[in-house]
């Protein structure tokens, strides 16, 4: 187990990258604390798998260093880094039994058979595959195959970090939920650092203590699920997390007051002076239908059971609100109110309003 430090890490798949757009990873500086449960969240192609492969040693970074407990491992191959990785599609050794599959990483490292047997039994019990131990791995269903892949990642108890690269892609939805909570439970039991790569916000938010959100090869925000939800540091995070995502409204800033469609909008706090493209960010959860406020026309109402999502249009900007109880009909004019302490201002995408400091 170890603390993992990424120091000025950059990577390009091109021979001689010229500008920042040639880099799949743009300068990453990050500390992963020992024993933490991390998620690396971002859309496809944002560089999260690249980052994972650099940590595991399958890929050599173009620039920068990786440190395990302060020790430089940048040049070490994967088997000398003492890590485990679970891949997107199940990797199993077809000709072996489930038992031999789980024992494989231990036997390759010369662990004695008695210890192998006890570790395999323990992992098999955790993953509920004990009754399959004697079957040939090639005969398993896809989700059981993936369980075995995970098991091979977890079977060694001395690893520095276990990494998961979108491991639930092939799993049925109802089993997804089960395996996810299983992983969380496993993490609490074994206390090994885990990094979980996914583009699914639910997976990331339920698994991790800390979520690292990436976009275009950059880390946009690191925080707990609550922080990411409540105070996105970038409009991208607001968009990407939440269902529906944060409303982003074009705004004008005069002094410390923000205006949307000519109407002043109260923010959470003051705004640092500066110029740029301004936007107001407010989550649909904090938009309410009120007697007075921003007039808007209802375009669509989706009933999600416990609540409804009302999509309204003000000027030419769409605004969503989550409404419980009675909903307006399509085409009606409503008035929208924003909860001030949840209304943020963004400048060029990044948060610019400051909580608590009065305007």
């Amino acid at each position: 187990m170890a603390k993992i430090t990424l120091d000025k890490l950059r990577h390009s798949y091109m021979g001689n990258p010229k500008g920042p757009e040639d880099y799949a990873l743009k300068e990453i500086n990050l500390d992963w604390q020992d024993g933490g449960a991390y998620a690396l969240l971002g859309p496809s192609g944002c560089g999260k798998s690249t980052l994972l492969n650099i940590i595991s040693g399958l890929l050599q970074p173009s620039e920068g260093r990786i440190l395990f407990d302060g020790e430089d491992v940048t040049g070490l191959p994967p088997d000398r880094r003492n890590i485990a990785q679970v891949f997107q599609f199940p990797v199993i050794y077809d000709t072996m039994t489930v038992y031999d599959n789980l024992a494989f990483p231990l036997r390759n490292r010369g662990v004695d058979e008695a210890r192998v047997a006890s570790r395999v039994a323990e992992i098999a019990a955790m993953l509920e595959v004990t009754e399959m131990l004697k079957t040939r791995a090639s005969n398993l269903s896809p989700d059981n195959k993936q369980k075995i892949s995970m098991g091979r990642g977890l079977v060694r108890d001395d690893v520095n970090v276990v990494m998961f690269d979108e491991p639930l892609t092939v799993i049925d939805p109802h089993l997804k939920w089960k395996l996810r909570s299983k992983l969380k439970e496993l993490h609490q039991r074994v206390k090994v650092t885990m990094i979980y790569v996914t583009h699914d916000q639910t997976e990331a938010l339920t698994f991790a203590d800390q979520v690292v959100v990436m976009q275009d090869g950059e880390i946009v925000q690191i925080g707990t699920p609550v922080e990411l939800f409540e105070r996105p540091a970038h409009t991208f995070v607001g968009h990407f997390i939440g269902s529906p995502g944060m409303n982003v409204l074009p705004a004008e800033l005069k002094g410390e007051t923000a205006f949307f469609n000519g109407a002043a909008v109260t923010l959470e706090g003051g705004v640092a002076p500066g110029a740029g493209r301004h936007e107001i960010g407010i989550r649909p959860e904090f938009v309410t239908l009120a007697a007075t406020g921003l007039p808007a026309t209802v375009r669509k109402v989706s009933d999600l059971g416990r609540h409804s999502v009302v999509e309204a249009i003000a000027g030419d900007t769409r605004i969503s609100a989550i409404v419980e109880g009675a909903v307006p009909g399509q085409g009606e004019t409503v008035h929208l109110a924003f909860r001030p302490d949840q209304t943020r201002l963004y400048r060029d995408g990044w948060i610019a309003s400051e909580k608590g400091r009065a305007a």
Binding site: P77, D79, I83, Q88, V91, D94, F104, P105
Partner: protein, 287 residues
Amino acid sequence: MRKVNQKGWFFVLPVLILVAFNALVPMMTVVNYSVQETFGDNVFFWQGLDWFQQILRSERFHAALGRQFLFTAMILAIEVPLGVIIALSMPRKGFWVPVCLVTMALPMLIPWNVVGAMWNIFTLPDIGLLGYLMNHTLGIDYNMTQDPVAAWITVIVMDVWHWTSLVVLLCYAGLVSIPDAYYQAAKIDGASNWSVFRYIQLPKMKQVLTIAVLLRFMDSFNIYTEPFVLTGGGPGNSTTLLSIDLVKIALGQFDLGPAAAMSLIYFAITLFVSWLFYTLMTRNDAK
């Protein structure tokens, strides 16, 4: 009762007719010859199983069969491992892939009798490139028209040159179908190169390898043109393989009855050994 649509038979009919005329009918004429004696003029005398007994007891047949098994065993023992090794060392991506593939495919594109003629000229002691090099430059006595060992080595090397590519290409197809994640996982699991071969590459190649072994067995067991053009079965009878012997009996001596019986025995052996290979190599799949 459910009504079964019988129209399907019409669609199979052309294939049935084709197979009947190019396989069943010729084969039945062979069966016809194998139980009769003829002196031409379409006059036949019933012989029963005499020809079969004669062939099965003939030392000449035993010798040819022995040579045939030795030849097939040797080329399989060389071509299969060599093919696997070459396939493993070929690049999986990049500029050299098509270069390797085309180079590998070239020998297989050459007609069989041309291969025989090429190697015949190649090994001529005084004017062939290899023959001259061996005899005059390296000083090794090499003349396959006089020395049975030299003749055998030449026939085998020729077959290896001609057909190893088939094993290579089939194995290569199996290898490129392995996703990168398997190699990455193996690296992380600390697997040795041998383990990667034993537990990842070999299982993925097994299906195509079964086909490769079967094809190479059947082709080499029935081989005729190349050794016939190269050595004509000599020196003496040393490279007279089964098919060469069969043609000698049928067309050289015009013993149609024994030749027909021999053909059927030959066919039965090929079929049986192919079945044996297939059963042994796919035995574990069902488990």
